[in-house]
Amino acid sequence: MVRYIGKRFVISLITIWILATLTFFLIRLLPGDPFTSEKITPEIKANMMKYYGLDKPLPVQYATYMGNLLKGDMGYSLRYKNREVNNIIADAFPASADLGLRSLVFSVILGLILGIVAALNHNKFWDYACMVIAVIGVSVPSFVVGSLIQYLFGIKWKLLPVAQWKSFAHTIMPTFALGLGTLALIARLMRTSMLEVVGQDYIKTAKAKGLSPAQVTIKHQIRNAILPVVTVLGPLVASLLTGTFVIEQIFAIPGLGRHYVVSIQNLDYTMVMGLTIFFGAFLVLMNFLVDIAYGLVDPRIRVGK
């Protein structure tokens, strides 16, 4: 196990290094530079380039960046002057993670319940009811859901705050809007998986052993059916927790989502790098945790044995 983790750790580091390197050079291929503006003169631009070390040859910049990165320093944003990329991410990540975690809990719990209920009532009313919810969840984009519930609950009926991130009431609509799609995905996945498992020999064996239907379902069917859900959970956690542009924009949530878009528009090199590395590392970590979780759920693929 330790060897496995060690190996995975090294691979993860290499992955992130490749990611960082590619992004470093690719972002600089975009036309324009961070300081292009209507009134800027070549001399002033040169002062700014010098200040941020962008006047040096690219390999030197790369070496400097990587050296600083090893020390955990991602430099200053080229747009949010005087603010470090580390601080910007540290400021914005909690709101995104908070929202993501709420959506995750909401969508995983409800999604599993819907999926299980649907599978146990295969081709009956509850199956169709659950799957109608799932289809709606998958096919209606989150920004439509977000805008709609914002209008109904916030503006028309004034039941919930329209936007911003302040109290529990503020979190309800964004959590729902962000989680609905995931909920639907998990419900469908769980249902399919449950139905596949039900025909397996070990279920027959369990039944033949004389276990109660509840025991069969909980101990054997659900436990085996949940594997595909665990698989998608890794990337899902990473994408939910690290911010979403649309929902954060609609509900004016001060999260990371906006930065992904704005940093590229502004050619804020350091910010783009910081976000890419942060997101990349998070994704790698989540996938790693999922691999470990596999073993806990399914002894057959327990690693290192």
């Binding site: 975009l30 036309p31 324009g32 530079d33 961070p34 300081f35 292009t36 503006s37 209507e38 009134k39 800027i40 003169t41 001399e43 002033i44 002062n47 700014m48 010098k50 200040y51 941020y52 200053y76 747009r79 949010y80 002057k81 005087n82 603010r83 601080n87 910007i88 400021d91 914005a92 709101a95 805008s147 914002q150 209008y151 916030g154 503006i155 004034k158 705050p161 329209v162 936007a163 911003q164 991130w165 924009q249 609609i250 509900f251 004016a252 001060p254 999260g255 906006r258 528009q265 502004n266 050619l267």
Partner: protein, 468 residues
Amino acid sequence: MKRSLTLVLVMLLALSLVLTACGPKASQEPGTSTGDETTSQGPKVLRFAIGSEPPALDQQIATDTYAIMLGNHLYEGLVRVQDGKVVPGMAESWEISEDGLTYTFHLRDAKWSDGQPVKAQDFEYAIKRLLNPATASEYAFQGYYIENGEAYNKNKITDPDQVGIKALDDKTLEIKLAVPTKYFLALTNFISLFPVRQDFVEAQGTAYAAEADKILYNGPFIMTEWKHEESLTLEKNPNYWNKDAIKIDRVEIAIVTDSNTAMGMYEAGDLDFVGLPAARVQEFVDNGQAKFYYDGSEFYFQFNVKGRNPEVGKFIGNANFRKAFAYAIDRQNYVDAVLKNGSDPATRYVLPLLSGVNDLFANEYPLEFYPKNADPAKAKEYLDKALAEIGTTIDKVPAIEYLTDDSDSARISAEAIQDMIAKNLGIKLEVKQVPFKQRLELMNKGEYDLVFAGWGPDYDDPMTYLDL
């Protein structure tokens, strides 16, 4: 400053003058009392939203609209400009030498938010900081009016003491200009020239002005909270010299990117005023709740007289050809049918609301250069003249590239313009949409034929448009 003399001459075609629509608090709405009515008890709070986080509030670094707006409330320069008139700010009085080159300011007894006095040295330090190449200020050119300011910023001299600004004593500041500049006095109301205190800035280092408590304030308000990307809270500055004139106790500013979200917050009673999204303007005009004000933004065509290539340049380089374009555009129609936000058609490049020498610029130079509506006959006339001068026919006119931003609204604009030019001139415009930064890059390199550009004024003088 000297950019307009780059390799391409630009011919400008003012297109539209934007009005920002603004809905006042709906007073007839029952049950939405928000505690900010002008009652005698309780603090008076004003709540509104801005569209993005100000990237910097550092006086010498800030460049964006919101920072400039905030700066006018948090800081104060030598003077203030109110309704086009210069009134005393940190300076109580001033004298200007007869040759118009030497300004002597006498500062009033004013305090920083930590209680220490605002001194002439704070202005001297600030302006030298602005011009110091190591500060890397994008707006350093606002200090080029000062003697040797440009040379210092461009590394031609290295001794900051040669820059024409000097604190004669704590209360007296002398500024020497490079050339007489009538609008310099008003320009001291611009954020780049606002004072900062050396010991404080140096103690904060690169983190100066990155957080609310890393700034010293000398304006009517102090910022008590800055939640990045979320909100800013301003409170009345008890140390401000003119605090009795400040009627509002607290200002709560939400950062809301989506204009529809801000609109929703306004409708739910969370904001006291809001910029109307274009789709809602008519509704609010109809029910009498919209108020309009000029924000000074204007949009215009910029021609590259050399064109992307000599073939196109042959046409665009012809003045009559460009005039044909000017008369083919229906500005009124454009603001009514495309912008639909209450904008006025612009009939001139320097907007009429700016100050002139002694009066409004519009009164000193009454000029309606372009008609509000298209004049197809005149457009054709100029086109024929141009074609005769070039010695060609209309079917030989190459496709002209129309460069614009990559937003949806830019695309809709482009299609409207394309249509007008095709209909009134029979010339094909090829629309090229690129991201903002790339558009500027292409403009700087002269790789365009015709570009749709815009600008908002930094200060109240035609120069803010003319030095583009």
